[in-house]
Homo-oligomer: 469 residues x 2
């Protein structure tokens, strides 16, 4: 939930006169939020402090929309989006953005695939035109696909096969869930990557890259009306398409504890333990009166209480004071389309066993469950939340990222403000209640990384370090 | 591998003059084995000892061909096959077979969906016509689908939700494999069943029920030439179709031990432990010279050594002598399209812990690894194999079942004979070698069934007991 402690965004649906409800909007609300007749959603944040513009397109299709046998496809398509269109040569997209002095990237997650460029405001319409071109006219040749799939496989080797953290997290997700597609690695299973075809990529593009499955987000020193006119012009020919039904694929109840060992070349052992945690369906509100939402917020507060860098109890007690751990962390679930986990992770100091460290970490949680949190400590967490809110409001990128994430998670933009309101309402007894109820062994999955000698690790070429996210 | 200790079948491809190679066939070989121009394979076993005929159609599509979100579909389609065609009312198929004095059923597995009828030989062509009709002209109405999916969900409740064994086995498969689709329950995840539609069933039928994905097997007091003529006539209009590419979906290496607890209402605790075991690709032969095939056969011998009813070491030592267990079993992997497991299962006597029982079971395996098996004991296993071979040759049903299973597992019918030859060649040192090598903790998955009070079990209506397999 960390990233979402961000900024106040107040959603206003502007299919009606776009600038009418000005007074109802908070300071971080979009200037424009409109869904065009072809289903394409446009969100604009005017911010005139610097002559720069950020442009993003978010497609609501990530690894959780994939099917077995073709995992990794959302991310492979992200790679192919740089490989040419009907009128653009492979690699030309990035060259053109660079020539405009822009920076750009793309990222794929369980829930979405997103593309962004940041440029001088005068170059905005040019990158918008480039993006609109590849959204509608992507060309996937057999040759380019064959080259790029090798790059993706190398990325998998680097980030998963050769990474103890990658291995452990992949195993954790694959076993914490039995049937939900959030259990798939975003990068895909290697065997699937090996058998993906250019036609699979074309099918993915034809299925999910539709205006009614995409959102254009523009932020910066721009004129919302002019941006809107340009978006209407650029995407006029992009026809609404019927999207596949997304099956609920609800995860079955967990009936007992799960424990895994992952042996991999590594310097240190570590463990991750994850507990099932509440998640909200698209129909449920982020509200102080929704018990599940309260639980989620209380868990977000708990995770900050446990591991914030200077104040976190696990950090202070176990890393700084008792020196039982080299590092510890805690992480609560985001608002998402899928089920959630609360995770703790710990790397013990030399001579300390994994179990001893874990026992101490769980003790700190139990202490919170029993004794609660002093109001002074909660107040600090609230101040941190407000500070990060102000900091993030200042960043075009964070603001746009949060909007894109909420939209592709089927959440209203108002969640952003509601989440802050909810966090402000969280009291010690809320945190005590979740700390006492969700950390049940029978709802947990534990992964233990057992180090193998590092000499067992395969060597990779240095060139493979510079891959796109 | 148990079912395959069956009979000598010698495959001969008879697309050429059908009755030419008679002298090369063994006693259990098919009279006819031919693939028709539309891809439909026909296997006939003439057997004139009784005036009866068995008719089966095997479709090579099971739960391992499903995708996430639509699991259970192969089996749902099996149900829909009894719900009417363009010319047959729902339920009429079974009424007609019953009126002919026949018995019939159908079954779905990870690898196939199969349909059979056994009738007096004079009714054979009538049931063949009925089957040919639903293979080509199935009608799936919204109404019938809506009713039948409820029946399937009730079947899932009965066989999985309310069954400790069902629960434990479902969890075992889902966690022993991370990515292979053999991890899906054949019945499907409940959430998927809830969202399946009549159109999904129609799509499945249109995709997989194609002549080039089906095999007709006829056995009994029949004339192969007449059967062939009738099959040609009945399926003349069934056009060959392009089948979807089946992705390898190879299971990643297991990097360490996995352990799960499943808590469910039950009278007794039990455990299942499964180790990854070798499997053969479609290209690999069942041969005394193939080390992987030898390992598979040695594991099949080991499983018989461990748990055969009167002679099995686990049975004798742990159930009869030491009285540590109420029941024990061991099971080696079949020849299949997917990866394999060797499993042991034990239910301890009262007062005996799961771990104590498991330790004792593993000790028996280690003893075999260290000391080998006396030739006298191996000889008994061989005699058992031969006895079951003779017994099975006598059964039309077993003979046809084995053929259908081999064909839908992408195996040649000659595997049947080759497997017997291979088993005859297994020596004590083969068994010792596998017993010493495959039972590595880091290649195992362990499920422990932890009993909850039986009063927690939901009550089901008595009517739900009479469901089709």
């Amino acid at each position: 939930m960390r990233y979402i402690l961000a900024l106040v965004l107040l959603a206003t649906c502007l299919t009606a006169p776009p600038l009418s409800a000005q007074t109802q909007r908070g300071p971080g609300a979009p200037t424009l939020d409109e869904t065009l007749p072809n289903g394409l959603r446009l969100v604009v944040y005017e911010d005139h402090r610097a002559p720069t513009a950020l442009h993003m397109v978010w497609v609501k299709a990530g690894s959780m929309d994939e099917v077995n046998g073709k995992t990794g496809l959302a991310h492979v398509l992200e790679h192919m989006m740089f490989k040419g269109t009907k009128t653009l040569a492979p690699g030309e997209f990035s060259q053109r953005v660079a020539a405009l002095g822009g920076r750009e990237n793309a990222f794929t997650s369980r829930e979405y695939t997103a593309y962004f460029q940041q440029v001088h405001k005068e170059a905005l319409f040019e990158v918008m035109a480039l993006e609109a071109d590849r959204m509608q006219n992507l060309s996937i040749s057999q040759e380019e696909f064959a080259k790029e799939i090798q790059v993706v496989m190398e990325e998998r080797r680097l980030r998963t096969e050769d990474s103890p953290n990658g291995r452990a997290n992949e195993a954790l997700m694959a076993h914490a869930f039995m049937s939900s597609p959030v259990r798939y690695p975003v990068i895909g299973w290697m065997s699937d990557l090996e058998s993906l075809t250019a036609q699979d990529a074309r099918d993915w593009y034809a299925t999910w890259y539709a205006p009614n499955n995409a959102t254009v987000i523009v932020a910066g020193d721009v004129d919302a009306k002019a941006v809107r006119a340009e978006v209407v012009r650029l995407y006029a020919a992009w026809a609404k398409r019927e999207l596949p039904t997304r099956r609920p694929q609800s995860e079955p109840d967990q009936l007992g504890e799960r424990a895994l060992v992952v042996a991999a070349p590594a310097s240190n052992p570590f463990f991750i333990r994850a507990w099932r945690s509440p998640s909200l369906s698209a129909q449920e509100a982020v509200s102080t009166r929704n018990p599940k939402a309260r639980e989620m917020a209380a868990l977000a507060v708990l995770s900050s209480l446990l591991d914030s860098p200077d104040l976190g109890r696990l950090t202070i007690r176990l890393v700084q004071e008792k020196r039982l751990a080299l590092s510890v962390s805690a992480d609560a679930a985001d608002l998402s389309r899928g089920p959630g986990l609360f995770m703790i992770e710990g790397t013990p100091s030399e001579g300390v066993s994994l179990l001893e460290l874990e026992k101490n970490m769980v003790l700190e949680i139990q202490k919170i469950a029993q004794e609660g949190i002093p109001e002074s400590e909660l107040a600090i967490i609230r101040r941190q939340v407000r500070a990060s809110r102000i900091f993030q409001q200042d960043s075009l990128f964070s603001r746009a990222m949060e909007a894109g994430r909420l939209i592709t998670a089927d959440r209203p933009l108002s969640d952003s403000a509601d989440w802050i309101t909810l966090l402000d309402d969280i009291r010690s007894d809320d945190v005590q209640r979740v700390a006492a109820s969700i950390f049940r062994a029978d709802q947990s999955t534990r992964v233990e990384l057992r180090p193998l000698p590092l000499s067992d690790a395969p060597k990779r070429s240095a060139s493979s370090a510079a891959l796109r996210h």
